[in-house]
Symmetry: D2
Subunit: 277 residues, 4 copies
């Protein structure tokens, strides 16, 4: 089974690049399942229902989020009817929407997607390890799910790596989001779980986190806010990670990054039909 | 001019891998200058004078550090006589050692190395932007220095990117350390400065930050310390970044990661004699 | 019903002052129930079983703790047989010891004591609000408990005040600990719950948090650790809060601070036999 | 010399209470100098020039601020012409306004007021200890200033106490602000400096930090913002600290809190004409 995950869409340039790239990527490479983190797709802050629909129409099966999930107020309402939009699973009980759900891939496989959020240097949510454990117990790999992906939206590399090891052998892929910078530590952990600390954003890399760089730099230097943050508008790099999953075990047999367009070094998974090293 | 930077050496496996790799890398590729971050080389915590000598003997021209610089108490003393060891430049006035210094490379070029530390999610030091500005004013590119490298030891990608843009066009390379995970966002910024958010550690990537994974995972799960942290002992990946610097401008003409050995995907700079894509 | 709570005992001077003061205070003022926070009683870090016994022998009915609870490793073991020692209730499931328990006071009243820990600027524990809610549901005021006290070990005044309002009318007293500084905001909230943001420590107030002031000041100035932290040894002020609880409602009818000995302005509850304004 | 300091004015109820109380307090007690922290006086966020004038007209000699100083954009402009408004002294060089200034009291004494901001759990500013040291060197007690007051706007009690000891014997008063809760640790330190960790706010104490309690409580429980923060509107307690300063030494001879109106226990300095214990 072939799966693609794209990191945080940032602003118009990031979401447009992802939306334009997805149909071709899916068709050319026979991708079975696509997950996209959309928490910054609406001018950098949250996601509207209209943007969600556009991303799903482009071929995403699931859209995950993170700390910015409620930046657009309408999300608190429409998330109840949009079961392809996930918010972090370790929000308090009673939070609108869902944090983990079982979907059916193009190849008929059942894919459990879990969206969890870290706590180191972030808001004080419920324990993401316990929340992930509960989601896995409810829907174990090979028993209920054919593949399991965790989008671990977190800041600290320690927490991300700990999550990877915690579920190693029990999920297909743990991929981090939130730092908006792709990491080069993609690997298959000893137990068979593919891991990458951060997928990186889909956005303009001549920026600070995908936002126009002037205001953030000014705040670091002067400690005075003088303008709102707005997304940078240069050409985006579509950043993500691709995984080949064994149909029998649900574990990863190959993992590699995808980076196309924009300023970053271009790379496509070598195990894809149009892959190149 | 050809420059190599290696990220945080973690424990015996990390420093041994780097020490064994450096002489061959330098000779085979005619590297003019080598910088290594050594803040975790002594069992994960700080650096002893003996280890410092070993790293310098292996071919490093400068050893940088970070928040762990004083973990070995002797460092407060011996740093005064070791001008090839840097500690963050934005420590308070009166701190032993130095945070920026001008060195001579194998090719005769004068290289200014600045070691600065971020403040987001870290200890409250003096302003790294102001400290870097002061160091650059004292020793400007093309006037005093032929090349300038900043090791920005920081947690947050926002602060690292802001630093990159802040000095773009005024230094040869800004490379981050501290997260112990290599990023894949190496690029030459619009003004000509090579940039990479984190070089990654030289250490065992079947770990949490290069440390044996059991105790950190246990602390995330149980919130109780039960043992000391100790470095993992599996084969290390030597992680770093290579830069080609224009002799006339001091700016970067090429930048690429280096990752050899251990679990991560292997890569050597394509512009090196023994490079491969 | 008359209840006394003493804040964090810090080191020998703090615990000795509390141990010497308690028997007289209890007898002279007919105090029915005494709670003491002991998390810093063993040289500033944690509590040994021997010190716990001394504090209980002096008249404490319950000893609460906080983030320093496990500083003495033996506590992980002996807490299982010491049901008068509480650790924060919002540690993960499976943590040794207990975080809430029902005790019988000298007057026969059943007193529920809950020890919870805040998350703002502190470690990432489970939700203290949810944990307190669960403890209250298991043992409601007037149905099971005649009085309920929450020691909310937290840093931020916002979180402490929010906890006070959250349980207002459902518990007898919410008192904060951890900052080691007594607050002067003791009041009875609109619903009848006595509240005080911090009880203050029992320790030497010519110090930094009860610890010898030289090393902490040096670290603020120089950003270099040069010695271990050790408790200050000057005369301690015994700091706490006294509450009068209505037997019928379990709510507070009066609340006032206690501060005796040492450097702080002396005050005893005006509603006590030996009280003075 | 008789000096009064009032803590953070929060919203209409807080600033009105302070403005109405000041003229009578000053006249009845022959107060020579009044400092008020005004950082939350404009609907909880910052201070407008109109409110500044009202507070000065009521008798304040200086208005200090903190992290909320720039919440009202106009402050960046008008602070340049208002030398009785201070912003934290450890903002970066080039910041509008001033952080320390010498004023003349009603009795002719020259009073240096320094407004500094802590860094623990707060934004990453320049070193407040170094900034205070520089301000004191420029204007030492007994040589240039007859009295010196530091408003240390900080979160952590450790940093506040360290500042107190750092300047002990060199200033008349160190008083903390920012937590919006008055502390009961007022004392004269060994060197003669009056100290109090926090003056407390002038605001409604049936609230969370002076703001209407519903929204903050909801955010702690649900982790979802659903409304803006707005000041609570109940009767405010005017909170502050009074100091008697020796004309010859500039050091404190007496220190006591002031709390009048609203929900907190009422107290006026016993050494004032209308003081009562
Ligand atoms: Fe994001
Ligand atoms: Fe995020
Ligand atoms: Fe570090
Ligand atoms: Fe490191
Ligand atoms: Fe404590
Ligand atoms: Fe504590
Ligand atoms: Fe404030
Ligand atoms: Fe503040």
């Amino acid at each position: 089974m072939r799966l693609l995950f794209l990191g945080d869409l940032v602003g118009r340039t990031g979401r447009t690049a992802a939306i334009e790239a997805l149909p071709g990527l899916i068709e050319d490479n026979a991708i079975d399942f696509v997950i996209v983190n959309g928490e910054n797709s609406a001018r950098g802050f949250g996601i509207t229902e209209e943007i969600l629909r556009d991303v799903l129409d482009a071929g995403a099966d699931v859209v995950t989020t993170g700390n910015h999930v409620w930046d657009q107020r309408e999300t608190l309402v429409y998330i109840e009817r949009q079961d392809r939009l996930l918010r972090p699973v370790n929000f308090p009980p009673g939070t609108p929407g869902r944090g983990a759900h079982l979907y059916t891939a193009r190849n008929g496989a059942r894919v459990l997607v879990i969206n969890a959020m870290g706590r180191i240097y972030m808001d004080s949510l419920d324990d993401p390890f316990a929340a992930v454990e509960a989601a896995l117990e409810a829907c174990p790999l090979r028993e209920v799910a054919d593949a399991i992906v965790i989008d671990f939206h977190a800041e600290a590399t320690s927490e991300k790596q700990a999550m990877g090891h915690f579920v190693d052998g029990r999920v297909s892929l743990v991929v981090g989001t939130h730092t908006h910078v792709p990491t080069a530590d993609h690997q298959i952990l000893p137990g068979g779980t593919a891991y990458m600390s951060d997928a990186g954003m889909c956005g303009d890399y001549d920026s600070v986190l995908g936002m126009d760089k002037e205001e953030p730099i000014s705040r670091f230097l002067r400690k005075i806010p003088t303008a709102r943050f707005a997304p940078a508008e240069g050409e985006a790099t579509v950043c993500g990670v691709a995984v080949e999953i064994d149909d029998a075990t649900g574990l990863a047999t190959d993992v590699a990054p995808l980076r196309i367009g924009g300023r970053l070094a271009q790379v496509t998974p070598p195990f894809w039909p149009d892959g190149k090293r």
